[in-house]
């Protein structure tokens, strides 16, 4: 297997007596979707924050593109090519959909300290923004104010902004949350094709999506990864069944 793009080694983070991350080692290889599942309170958000750079681990390291990024902040990691989407949409709500996408394109290209030329007339940025909107199916809503989008459309826009960055790897925090069955299915199809461009570390509650998409699944319980493997291996794993699937995924 090729060298992992994104790798955590022994990440540990405690809040008082609670170990939210307990020596977590994960990796993300080119071309794969690696899903991270676990019950509420298992420490998924804490882990995501440490990978994205919002939080520094007490010990352990994060490597991205072969580089130790543990000490870098969110901005620096984004600039290296880590494309992140949030569980609760983080968008500029007063902006139009297109403006949000242009913001992403602007971030990808350096030169934000420009004070005179109108950004919404910059052809290169617009082209990139429109392309991303088209890929997620929001091209007809370019002029809509973001606050007026439906919940599902906001999720699509989150993904579109991440696409404008042309990232080397995606970090997606529950992209399916709150989507209806139809929306969930469409997004699943989209992510399926996206993995060829850049691998995805996917935190998701929607088990149908996870088992349909993931090349590998890691199960996080009480801050520890109790198993990593293919969908079939995870389904068959007795620890996982006891700790997690047995309770939550009863048909």
């Amino acid at each position: 297997m090729a060298e992992p793009l994104l790798q955590t080694r022994g990440i540990t983070k405690s809040f008082g007596a609670l170990k939210a991350s307990d020596a977590i080692s994960l990796d993300l290889h080119p071309g794969e979707i690696h899903a991270l599942i676990g019950p509420n309170g298992a420490g998924k958000s804490t882990l995501i924050k440490q990978i994205a750079g919002n939080m520094t681990p007490d010990s352990g390291t994060v490597h991205f593109l072969g580089q130790d990024v543990t000490a870098l902040d969110t901005v620096a990691r984004a600039r290296l090519g880590l494309g992140r989407t949030f569980q609760i949409s983080a968008l500029a709500m007063d902006f139009t959909v297109l403006q949000n996408a242009v913001l992403g394109a602007l971030g990808a290209r350096s030169g934000v300290m420009r004070f005179f030329l109108p950004v919404m007339k910059d052809r290169a940025l617009l082209a990139r923004a429109h392309e991303a909107l088209e890929r997620v199916g929001l091209q007809d809503h370019a002029a809509t104010r973001t606050a007026e989008l439906s919940h599902g459309q906001r999720r699509q826009l989150e993904v579109a902004v991440a696409l404008t960055l042309k990232p080397k790897a995606f970090l997606m925090d529950e992209p399916m949350a709150g989507l209806g069955a139809g929306g969930s299915k469409r997004l699943t199809g989209f992510l399926d094709g996206l993995r060829a461009e850049a691998p995805i570390l996917l935190v998701e509650h929607d088990m149908d999506a996870v088992f349909a998409l993931a090349d590998r699944i890691s199960v996080l319980v009480y801050g520890q990864v109790i198993a990593t493997g293919t969908a079939d291996e995870i389904r068959a794993n007795p620890d996982v069944r006891r700790a997690y699937l047995g309770e939550e995924d009863a048909p």
């Binding site: 500029a92 007063d94 913001l103």
Partner: protein, 327 residues
């Protein structure tokens, strides 16, 4: 054309017609009032970049207004006494030239904004409001106790500073000068809001996480915005000092910070012409109500309270309705 554009055009027209009428009927006092509106609006345009576009609630913009004023006062007072500001290691003399004074005023207030901003922007929310207030108060007390330039009593400059080719003591000429500067500042502020920087700054106000995630650091955006904002308000301070030919620590007081904020809010926060409408309304009220009652600030307070509680978009927001103010 949006409704806001029409309102802005009407406001511009009014601001030109009133002094034209005053000039043709020889009412110098009205000309001075219009000049005051333009200069105070300029201070508001500065604050609006930080407050409206960047969402930075600075309660200390009097610091920059005052620094601009004192830059004028110090340069002009040394020029008027022919006493150099310093003669070692290099000779620095005072000047009565407005362009030179403006340059110094903007550089000095930009530098102050860089220092104050670099520290204050480490905090947010109420702490940011309070620390900006505190820095302005610090300068206020410093100027009170600094005897070289008048201390608590302030300092008079006897003759208005000069601008090449103009007689600035003629009210209408100084008015035109102030209008041109305000116009340039509005143009700059409009372009800034539409530029890449404005887009990113506005996004950082709405959602800082979003901006970080696309690889842009909000702190740098905000600091640059704060510096630009401070420099423009500083320029307004220099002009205000020239209008009155007087500087005093009052320029640094927290009432001044509050009033600059009032211009922005009365007019409409984040609106290009908000500070212009706000400053015009403020001066109009001061002039009309001040004639009726010595206690006109009661009415100003009541109006401000009403705007905050019931008309959050200010004058322009109420007239133009809810529209995306940028983009």
């Amino acid at each position: 054309m949006t409704r806001e554009t029409y309102i802005n055009a009407a406001l511009s027209l009014l601001l030109v017609l009133v002094p034209f009428w005053a000039w043709s009927t020889g009412q110098a006092y009205i000309l001075t009032l219009c000049t005051k509106v333009a200069i105070l609006a300029l201070a508001g345009v500065g604050l609006n970049i930080a407050l409206g576009l960047g969402g930075l609630v600075s309660f200390g913009h009097a610091a920059f207004f005052g620094i601009g004023g004192y830059a004028m006062g110090i340069l002009a007072s040394h020029a008027q006494t022919f006493d150099p500001i310093m003669d070692w290691p290099i000779l620095i003399e005072g000047t009565k030239s407005m362009p030179m004074i403006w340059l110094v005023a903007m550089l000095a207030s930009a530098l102050a904004a860089l220092l104050i901003g670099a520290l204050s922007l480490r905090t947010s929310g109420v702490y940011f409001i309070m620390i900006t207030l505190a820095f302005a108060q610090m300068l206020y007390y410093f100027t009170i106790g600094w005897p070289a330039y008048g201390g608590e009593d302030g300092l008079s400059i006897y003759v208005r500073n000069s601008f090449p080719g103009l007689n600035t003591l003629v009210p209408v000429q100084f008015l035109i000068l102030s209008y041109v500067i305000l116009g340039l500042a509005l143009l700059f502020s409009a372009r800034l809001a539409r530029a890449p920087f404005g887009l990113a700054l506005s996004a950082a106000r709405q959602n800082a996480d979003r901006v970080e995630t696309v690889g842009i650091a909000p702190y740098r955006l905000r600091l640059v915005a704060f510096v630009i904002s401070g420099a423009i308000t500083g320029l307004a301070g220099a002009l205000f000092a020239d209008l009155n030919r007087f500087i005093s620590p009052t320029m640094f007081s927290w009432h001044t910070s509050g009033e600059i904020m009032i211009f922005v809010i009365l007019g409409g926060v984040g609106r290009l012409y908000g500070p212009v409408a706000g400053a015009a309304l403020f001066i109009l009220l001061e002039h009309l109500l001040g004639g009726v009652s010595d206690y006109w600030k009661i009415f100003l307070g009541a109006l401000l309270l009403a705007v905050v509680l019931f008309a959050r978009g200010g004058l322009i927001g109420t007239l133009a309705g809810r529209e995306v103010a940028h983009g």
